[in-house]
Structure formats: C-alpha cells, structure tokens
C-alpha cells in the first residue's frame, strides 16, 4: 500500500507544480456557472415560481456546481491507458512491481483530487456571489461521500474505455458518447427530478445517476434515508464494475503480444 500512497502523493505534487496553469483551467467553471445562472434565472422567472420539483434557484446553482466539480475532476485514465496500449508501453509497465490498474487509480486520484479542490476554490466564491451562501455541513458530508464513490465509478468506466484500445484503434469517440450519457442520464445538466415520470425510474436504475445526480442532489437537499439508499445502490454498481474491469483487464493482458524489446 505504501507504494500506491507514494504514487498518489507524487501525483499531487506534480499537479501543483504549475498552480497558475491549474488555476487558469479552473476558470472554466466560472464560465459554466454564469451560463447556468442565466438559463435558470430565466427559467424560474418564466415559471413564476420559487421552486421547481423541490429545487429553488440557489439550490439549482449549487447542484450544478457540484456536478461540474465532479465532471472536471473525473479521471482521464482512458486516454493514458489507450496511449500506453497503442504505443506498446503497456508491456513495459506490466513488468513493474505494481498492479497496472491500481497504479492508474492512485495516479488519477491524486490528479483528480487537486483539480476538484481547485475547482471548488474558484467555483464556490462565484456561485456564492451569484445566489448566496453555501449548503449545510451535512449536505457537504453526504456529497463528498457520494462524490468519492462517483469517482470510483468514473474510474472503472474510463478504464474500460481505455482497455478498448486492445480491440479498436480509436477510443476517444467512446469517451465522447460516455460523457454525454453522464451529462444527460446522470442528471448533470438537468436534475433527474425534472425528467418525465416514465424516464426517472429508468435513469435511477443506471450507474450514471450515481456519478452525478446522487451527490449533487444530496448536496443541496440532504436526506438521510435517500443517502443510505443512494450509497448502497452506488456501491452495488462499484462492485459490479470492478468485477467487469477485472475480467476485461485479464482478458486484455492475455491477448497482449509483445515482440522484441
């Protein structure tokens, strides 16, 4: 475990080596929040109501901030794995005294963690100025717990996409489609409560809801019953995806042909 901790902490140091560049990238979150503020201010004004499906305008903006922080901090491990497979570097990495996937997990966690914190540092003042104070402390607790699970779900999915490089040359297209599935079915752009009634149970039975909607919803509307319900379904998905990732990894390694050195 010590070596993985070293990988994790080294990546944090690496990420912080260029804080100006990192902070510059975090400005994106302000752009997104300004757009959302414009859209939802107009929507609430047109609806002539304080609350839509239980969410007020400030709730909506804090919900969207949490979604953006998760999205911008999600691991980009698919691109790294895909490149390593295509370049053949994977053969070299497999001979190292660590598990290939666990290495990427801690590497990505260091990078994603720094990005999430910086995005919060930039995003919180922006949203505070737009709609007022932060959600409650209990909301933070529930959101952070579920956001960690969401990050693991993302990691599994992104790794599976990266491993597709063993089968197809171009994997970026799969990432684009996956990203849009999370945007829509995960409730990132529109909370699932605002979906048509027939669609809500379908989306809540898919893993995407537990990558975005669950942490963001409980961030603004903490509810202990819902928290335990979301957490248990989220971890069922995590276990299933880890199992699937393990199978895909073993089958990929078996099919690996190394020529020369």
């Amino acid at each position: 475990m010590k070596k993985y901790w070293a990988i994790f902490s080294t990546q944090i140091v690496n990420s912080l080596a260029y804080p100006g560049d990192f902070l510059g990238r975090s400005v994106s979150i302000v752009i997104f929040m300004l757009i959302f503020a414009g859209l939802w201010r107009a929507t609430f004004a047109a609806a002539g109501t304080e609350s839509i499906n239980g969410l007020t305008f400030p709730n909506m903006l804090w919900y969207l901030l949490m979604c953006e922080v998760i999205e911008l901090g999600r691991p980009r491990v698919n691109r790294v794995i895909s490149e390593q497979v295509k370049s053949g570097e994977v053969a070299y990495l497999l001979s190292k005294p660590y598990n290939f996937l666990v290495y990427h997990f801690f590497h990505g966690l260091g990078d994603g963690g720094v990005r999430a914190v910086l995005n919060l540092l930039v995003g919180i003042p922006a949203v505070w100025l737009l709609v007022g104070p932060l959600p409650t402390l209990i909301g933070w607790g529930m959101a952070v717990t579920l956001a960690f699970g969401a990050w693991i779900l993302h990691f599994c999915m992104m790794s599976l996409i990266g491993l597709l490089a063993f089968l197809v040359e171009e994997t970026n297209s799969f990432e684009l489609i996956y990203q849009k599935a999370v945007f829509i079915l995960g409730g990132m752009l529109l909370p699932l409560d605002m979906f048509p009634g027939w669609l809500q149970p379908i989306t809540k039975s898919l893993p995407f809801a537990y990558m975005m909607y669950a942490p963001a919803r409980l961030f603004v509307k903490p509810d202990p019953t819902l928290f335990w319900q979301f957490l248990s379904v989220q971890w069922i998905w995590i276990v299933m995806l880890i199992f699937l990732l393990g199978l895909a990894y073993r089958s990929s390694v078996r099919s690996l042909a190394v020529n020369g050195g």
Binding site: L34, I177, K180, F183, I184
Partner: protein, 261 residues
C-alpha cells in the same frame, strides 16, 4: 485570389485522400460525432418537455441554433483543422515548414489538417437545420450566410487568441479556455444574458455571433442583423490576420527537424 483557391483545393484534396486511406476510422469519427451531438441535444429535448420556452426560444429555435453552430464548427474543423492547434505549431517551431514555401502562411497552416469528426458535425448541423422547420428558399440562403459568418468568427477568434503565442510563448491553457468559452456560450440563446455579459458575448468572446444572432437572422431577415454579422466577421478577420502577421515578425524557432504529412 485564384492562387489561394487553388492552394485550398489542393490541400483539401490531399486531406480527403489521406482520410480515405483509413476509411473505417474516418466513418467511425463521423458517426460518433453525430451521435455525440444528438446525445448532447437531448438536454434541450428534456428541458423543453418540462418548460415550454425560455426568453422566446423553443425547441425548434434551439435546433436551428445548433444547426448553425454545428455546421460552422464542422466546416472549420474539417477544412481548417489546424485552427485549434495553431498555438502549439507556433510554440514548437513548426511554422518553419510553412515559411519555407511560397504560399500564404496562415491559410496554408490552417488548411493543412483536417479533423474527420468535423464532417460529422457538418452533417448533423445541416440535418438539425432541416428538421428545425426553418427550411425555406430564402431561409436557406440566410442559413448559408449565418454559417459563413460563424465559420469566419471561429477561425478569426482562435487565430487571434493563439497568435498571442508569438509574444507569450505557450498559450495552450488560455487558448483552451477561450475555445471552451466560445463554444459553450455559442450553444445557448443570447437573450439569457443581459448587460455586461451580453456585450462581452458580442465582442470579447463573440459567441453570440456564432449561435443566437445568425439564428435570429435565419428566423427573420433584418438589415440591422445582416450589417452586424457582416461587419463583425470582416473586422474580426482583418484584425486576427493583422495580429498573426505582426506576431510572425517575432517568430523564432530552433530550426527543428520535422516531417509534415
């Protein structure tokens, strides 16, 4: 002028031949980009299922806006694919190749690369416009004009921002931020933003000139909108070309060896 068009025709032919060498990969990119756009647009389908309109914009209007923006992005990406990597080309000294040939440097650089996914955007954009219900003979002419203006704004704005590399060195982060801001804002109705934000979207980040203003122009002709679109596009293009060539005088490279394919 004739020589410039001949150069473009030759470059586009070479790019097409290159794409056809990897036909399956090209078609995959096209199809996946269309699916990606469609998935992203599902947000508006769900949004307008819940709310009838926002500041006078309905689902058909958004299809029109997406139609114009996607077609314009597709044309820029497919025919002038280096418009997103100009900063990198300048920083890495890869302009040497273009400078050594008796052709206009900026035009040659931009058109030397083609992004296959751009064709997917182009086809999606055209389809989205046709399905929006605004397809009439004069409406189509206005659509073509709106797309031309939007292509020009995409190319000019990104050339302008990335030309800063001549003075500031690596501007990849700023360029990425500018691109994100331009793209994201252009996909929302301009009427959502008021005051200073509205002014910024027509000047510093000219996103309204890509999406909502051309869409308004397609919906109903007005001399004011026509003048605003044409003057903005021409001025921005002239300014970006001037800045690029000003910067080119400061260009330095380490005479790096490279192969342009």
């Amino acid at each position: 002028m004739k020589r410039h068009l001949q150069l473009l025709a030759a470059l586009w032919k070479a790019n097409l031949q290159s794409a056809m060498e990897y036909r399956a990969a090209f078609l995959t990119q096209v199809v996946f980009m269309m699916l990606n756009n469609l998935a992203y647009f599902m947000f508006w389908v769900l949004y307008f299922n819940k709310f009838n309109a926002v500041r006078g914009w309905n689902l058909q209007d958004m299809m029109l806006l997406f139609g114009i923006a996607a077609t314009a992005w597709g044309i820029a990406a497919y025919f002038f694919g280096n418009f997103t990597t100009l900063s990198e080309i300048i920083t890495l000294g890869r302009l040497d190749y273009y400078l050594s040939l008796p052709r206009p440097v900026l035009l040659h650089t931009l058109a030397s690369r083609s992004l296959g996914s751009g064709m997917g955007d182009l086809i999606y954009g055209l389809g989205s416009y046709i399905l929006s219900g605004y397809l009439t003979p004069d409406g189509f002419l206005r659509y073509l004009l709106g797309v031309t203006v939007a292509v020009s704004i995409f190319l000019s704005f990104l050339t302008l921002v990335q030309s800063l590399s001549f003075w500031m060195g690596n501007t990849t982060a700023i360029s990425q931020l500018a691109l994100n801001a331009l793209l994201t804002f252009s996909l929302y109705p301009g009427s959502l933003f008021e005051g200073a934000a509205k002014f910024i979207l027509l000047t510093i980040i000219p996103a309204s000139l890509i999406g909502s203003l051309p869409a308004e122009f397609v919906k109903s002709f007005s001399w004011g909108a026509l003048l605003q679109l044409l003057v903005s596009a021409v001025l921005l293009m002239l300014f970006s070309v001037w800045v690029f060539y000003r910067g080119l005088k400061r260009y330095e490279s380490g005479s790096s060896m490279q192969v342009e394919i």
